[in-house]
């Protein structure tokens, strides 16, 4: 990756990959002095430091990880000046100097091509689609002489936080998560599903997705365990719980639609087509003055195709969630979500909020028959109402 004659390196992209190149450069230099510069210094200062001879005849490594300030009044002019000065200077470095341009995020093709001519350019990707994460994860673990249980791998990949608005996963985040996992397992050679769960339970995203799994599998205890985690993590418990309930509402409404549609003999394709035609409404105003309208710019579906397909087919060899629930279960859960949302807004203490959620999970995890659930729910709701008069 490094070459003894190369004096200029440009590295960009994933932090982990950039660090790997930088460390290789360091190794190749032997004994050296290291200097860091960023946007807090001027390019003139950087050059004066590079031009200074070493006192001790040692090699010198200059890491520039921010554009030093060039001459000019506007920022754009300053950057242009810095690039211009760098272009003229980097080709004629003193023999004891190595310069690493570290994550400068440059889009200038002429600058990149110049550095390519006088040195080496490494541009690493920063993210990969979730679908392609399997190879990355297994490769990373192989390099560390570790194996992973297939269920653990599935949970791990399925629960990495994606980059906002995409299903791409940041490589650095993924590598850090894997490092964390390696620290958790210690000397163990094979990472189990339990190890992955232990690590991922810190991940908020994972809490919600794990709740889905627990509710599907009627694991009431698991639901309550994760509910405690939410209680610890959330600074605004009501807002956090409401947000989760809205997500549940979205999911169970989708499952209810699919269940009903498929049970009446509508084909999977037709069902998918129909559900995707339900639009996501645009919300304006707030509280009592909340209005909904169709988005005027572009049609946006309430559900996404991928989620619908997973709901029908299942994922990573898991059964379809539809197979876990009867129509009446789904109806009861949706009703319970609506009721819980209503009472949650009026609950004064965290204890009552948690009790409401426990009541919800007893329904969602289908601990009892629908009839018992209905009666229990009714009596519980009455008690809550008795102690929690409306504040309006």
């Amino acid at each position: 990756m490094t070459d003894k004659d190369t004096q200029v390196y440009l590295v960009e992209g994933s932090y982990i990959s950039c660090q790997r190149v930088l460390n290789n450069v360091r190794k190749s230099l032997g004994e050296y002095d290291e200097y860091f510069f960023d946007e807090s210094v001027s390019i003139e200062y950087v050059i004066s430091e590079i031009k200074r001879f070493s006192l001790e005849d040692r090699k010198r490594l200059f890491v520039i990880n921010g554009w030093p300030v060039g001459k000019g009044k506007k920022k754009a002019d300053q950057k242009q000046n810095t690039m211009k000065v760098m272009k003229s200077f980097l080709g004629d470095l003193p023999s004891d100097c190595t310069v690493v341009l570290y994550n400068l995020s440059t889009s200038s093709k002429t600058f990149l091509s110049l550095i390519g001519k006088i040195g080496k350019v490494y541009q690493f990707i920063e993210s990969i689609p979730r679908k392609k994460c399997t190879n990355y994860v297994t490769g990373y673990l192989d390099n560390n002489d570790r194996q992973i249980d297939p269920n653990g791998l599935e949970i791990l990949i399925n629960n990495f936080n994606s980059i906002s608005g995409t299903d791409d996963i940041n490589i650095d985040y993924m590598a850090m998560s894997l490092e964390k996992l390696l620290h958790i397992i210690g000397n163990k050679k094979t990472i189990s599903e339990q190890d992955v769960r232990q690590m991922m339970e810190e991940n908020c995203n994972f809490v919600v997705w794990s709740l889905f799994n627990f509710m599907d599998n009627r694991n009431y205890k698991g639901c309550l365990k994760l509910l405690r985690k939410i209680q610890i993590k959330e600074t605004d418990l009501t807002a956090g719980l409401i947000q989760i309930l809205h997500l549940f509402h979205w999911r169970y409404s989708m499952l209810f639609f699919l269940k009903e549609s498929l049970s009446t003999g509508v084909s999977e394709q037709e069902t998918i087509k129909s559900i995707l035609e339900i639009s996501k409404l645009k919300r304006s105003g707030s509280s009592f003055y909340c209005f909904y309208s169709e988005s005027s710019d572009k049609f946006v579906s309430k559900y996404n195709k991928e989620a619908v397909k997973i709901a029908i087919k299942g994922i990573y060899g898991n059964k379809s969630p539809l197979k876990y629930y009867s129509s009446i279960d789904l109806f009861a859960i949706i009703r319970k979500i609506v009721d819980t949302l209503y009472y949650l807004r009026y609950a004064k203490t965290d204890e009552i909020k948690m009790s409401l959620m426990e009541s919800f999970f007893s329904v969602a995890a289908r601990r009892f028959s629908y009839k018992i659930m209905k009666n229990l729910g009714r009596s519980f709701d009455k008690r809550v109402m008795q102690f929690e008069p409306s504040e309006s």
Binding site: D33, F53, L55
Partner: protein, 416 residues
């Protein structure tokens, strides 16, 4: 709390605690800028901990007979050190007695008699917890107080400033049985003050030891220790331990500073000062600092605020004219300065013109005047444009002490 003291004596003796509380502090430290006053029957104790350094002083008539300490009521309060110091300083006649007394939420400093007066400072609802002083040390040594203070003051100016190079934010004191060195530098320029002679007392089984002193606390140490009268400063350093954070404890007479918050892993081993000092130079020039005064004025005249603002490299080209026996210093930036400096004696290894010149940061030349006494002979040595330049003071002998002192500054040159 209620006690009376003589103003002047109290001010003089409380100064170390006031300085520790207010100078070289960790800004966000909870007890920064605060001082605790604990009045007891026979003495008043002042405690301060600014985050980087802590001290506890016990003041009584045994420490200073002029203090005339008299306690009416024991008690402990914490006040802002600067407010307290200014309040006491506001009483002009230092031989007067003042009563220091807690009154509700204030500390009242009052003078009775003809010129009645009272100053009040608010009490702080904080407790000062000093770092636990360690009893186990990995290093321990004693050094003559005047040498310690002078050595630090001589090289202090050369300490680094770049946070990216933290090792140069420390001043190094190297001690051997018959040789003590004070070293400070930026990586590009170093100042070394050496005292040959027995000025330090090392542990019996030790031949060499060193201490690194943080830049931030140096003004406090030199200010306090220069005004004391005891002969030795004792330096002790704890090793890395789980129980006690690393500390350096400096003791001089009744004053003890516990220095904490420094990085115990700061590594000076990479800095090979001796290797540079052993370099042989082909050119040696004898000159006097007074010959440089006007030239340095010229150099400084070219380093305007505009140049500083633009962060332009402020380099000077120096050429030795062996025939005319003079150095020519030239600065050729937006402002120009060309100056000739008379030299008294030149020794060169040959007439190779390239070896008779160098380029360096102009500030290093300015320091020949700003960091040295007037009318001092110095020897400038260099070996061509790529090697370091040395500015050496002629050794001076102190017959009374039996010591010999050297001062050397060396700096890296710059390519054209």
């Amino acid at each position: 709390m209620n006690f009376t003291v003589t103003i002047g004596s109290f001010l003089k003796n409380s100064r170390p605690a006031i300085l520790v509380a207010t100078k070289g502090i960790e800004k966000d430290w909870t007890t920064a800028n605060l001082i605790e006053i604990n009045a007891e029957e026979s003495e008043v104790t002042l405690s301060a901990f600014g985050g980087k350094m802590a001290t506890q002083l016990s003041l009584s008539d045994l420490v200073d007979s002029n203090l005339s300490y008299k306690c009416e009521e024991i008690g402990k309060v914490v006040v802002n050190a600067e407010h307290f110091s200014k309040a006491i300083n506001s009483f002009n006649n230092f031989s007067d007695m003042v009563t220091i007394k807690s009154e509700g939420k204030n500390l009242a400093i009052s003078r009775d008699g003809k010129n009645k007066g009272v100053q009040k400072v608010p009490l702080q609802d904080v407790e000062i917890h000093l770092p636990v002083s360690s009893g186990q040390f990995c290093k321990k040594t004693k050094i003559q107080r005047d040498v310690f203070v002078e050595g630090i003051q001589k090289v202090e100016y050369a300490i680094g400033f770049e946070e990216r190079r933290p090792e140069y934010l420390y001043l190094k004191i190297e001690m051997q049985h018959d040789n003590t060195r004070f070293i400070a530098g930026t990586g590009g320029r170093f100042a070394i003050y050496t005292v040959e002679g027995k000025v330090a007392e090392l542990e019996k089984d030790e031949n060499k030891t060193f201490f690194l002193i943080m830049k931030d606390i140096i003004p406090v140490i030199t200010d306090v220790f220069s005004k004391l009268s005891c002969d030795y400063v004792e330096l002790k350093q704890t090793g890395v331990s789980e129980d006690v954070s690393d500390q350096i404890i400096l003791t001089c007479g009744d004053v003890e500073f516990i220095i904490v918050g420094f990085d115990p892993e700061i590594d000076w081993s990479k800095v090979k000062i001796d290797g540079v000092l052993k370099k042989k130079n082909s050119v040696s020039i004898l000159t006097n600092t007074s010959n440089w005064e006007e030239a340095v004025k010229g150099i400084n005249a070219t380093y305007t605020k505009d140049v500083q603002k633009e962060h332009e490299a402020h380099n000077a080209d120096v050429v030795l004219d062996t025939k005319e026996e003079k150095l020519i210093v030239r600065i050729d930036s937006s402002l120009v300065s060309i100056r000739e400096i008379q030299v008294d004696k030149i020794e060169t290894g040959g007439d190779d013109q390239d070896s008779l010149q160098f380029r360096c940061h102009a500030t290093y030349l300015s320091e020949i005047v700003s960091q040295n006494s007037k009318n001092v002979d110095i020897r400038i040595e260099f070996d061509g444009p790529k090697n370091p330049v040395f500015i050496k003071h002629l050794p001076s002998t102190n017959d009374a002490k039996g010591t010999k002192e050297h001062m050397v500054t060396f700096f890296a040159t710059t390519m054209k």
